[in-house]
Amino acid sequence: MDSRELEKLKKEALDARVKIIREIASFGSGHIGGSMSVVEVLTYLYYHEMNIDPSRPDWPERDRLVISKGHSGPALYAMLAKKGYFDESMLSTLNQGGTRLPSHADMTKTPGVDFTAGSLGQGISAAVGIALGQKIRGCDAYTYAIVGDGESQEGEVWEAAEAAGAWHLNRLIAFTDINGQQLDDYTENIIPMHKLDQRYDSFGWNTVEVENGHDFEQIAAAIAKAKEEKTRPTMILLHTVKSYGYIPGEGIKANHSMPVSKEKAEEAIAALLEREGGKA
């Protein structure tokens, strides 16, 4: 990746973060933690990797993304708005009655959302179904999915994993957003998700560790490796920081869903821009 491309991606990610904070603040609260932790992977997929056409969200041959941790909807919406799937002004309708942007990603409501999620564990199964369906159809498109580390406590994640491994779905590239936290506490204090690399390896997946899930070059290298794989699905283990970029939520336990007033949002954005040395 050249430095210009890297700078462009960083700028888009920063802009996405600002939009997500304002989007959640427009409602007054929301799933800020798990939205902020996936910004880089979403930015990379939408701005660099996925074969998509925002003017044709139903294009059958497109690459698809399933946000299995459906509560990251606000991050996905900011990205889709930026890409032109719908007008950016729609972001301020998040969770309002009649909105097309519900807290959890919904394919029947939002242009560009490839599958509905919200009941944890199901999205990864659906992504396996999509990847399998593309194989049956003889379509070369890639299917991407983002699973949470807390979500991986759901047994269904492992049912999906064993099926994808057995069916050799090498065009399925999934990520686990390992931000180390879940609603109640640090994942370590609830049900620890140890050795995910070995778990996926034993389920017949190619596994790639990304030590810093906010680093575009590491994400790029991991996806490149995934695309070399000829027989196995790939799980990219993204080590992230929950609430990364929404500074009031960084490093605290209760950052899954937080109240975010408009005033607080602007303070947080100013602090973020200062830290990142950028402009929104």
């Binding site: 199901q122 399998l132 369906g133 099926a163």
Partner: protein
Amino acid sequence: MKDTSVYENYRDAVVGSIIDLAKVHDDIVVLDSDLSSCLGTTEFQKEFPDRFYNCGIAEANMAAVAGGLSSVGLTPFIHSFGCFASRRMYDQVFISIGYAHRTVHIVGTDPGITAQYNGGTHMPFEDIALMRQIPGLIIYEPSDIRSLYELVQQVYATGQSSYLRTPRKGSTRRYGDDVEIRLGKAITVRDGSDLTIIATGVHLVSEAEKAAAALEAKGVSTRVIDLHTIRPLDAETITKAAAETGRLLICENGRYPGGTGEMISALLFKEGISAKVDFINVGERFGEVGSLSYLAETFGMTADNMVKKAEALM
């Protein structure tokens, strides 16, 4: 019209109907959950090896995988025993199929007491109530080989998701080519003016026919309705029967709450039709192991019990 006499039993008719659809429609795929030799989806696999996947003993994943398949333009038929096809994968059916507006056809075999020797763990009595909570989902339970074959064809044509309740074993042939089989339209198997028995599924419709003959001999003119489509409910045929005969005996191989008995009672109340009504169902009991005849006796799903209840209504 398809010659369904080639099918030896219900399982052959279900799979045969899906195979016939798949010959014409290349969107059809079949998923099973380690029960393909039980239903015979292995026959589908032989004909369409690239359109069959065995998901193993992981029903919840199978249902959401089916939702994913549907989102790329494929139409999955997925199979498990009715207990697992309803209770075990309910949230996946609800969210990844129903709420996500996907089209998936669920085949739930061995409904109610037809689970026989697999016993209480395998005996779905509540599947109708569960599936009724999912908006737009068709629920059907045909009572013979021909109607089973035909209704699978018709359900596919609707483009809506569905839940099929069917036994695998047995070969009742109730309807000749002269009887119209239409999804959503109950069949009046026999006419009568004093009382109507509404029954669903092979076993109960057969028992209802026997009961009607016995009642006729006692001077009670008995109508028998085969309610093969549970949802959408054929309100017209039911309200007409209630108004004309004034007495209904509603028989289901399942539980009352959320089942056909409760559904029909609510319909009559809403329409302001007063009729004397009684029910045959499993009540507050769990299932248990046994032969079909033992279980029918235990749960009162017999012609004799129907006659007794009908006489009490007179």
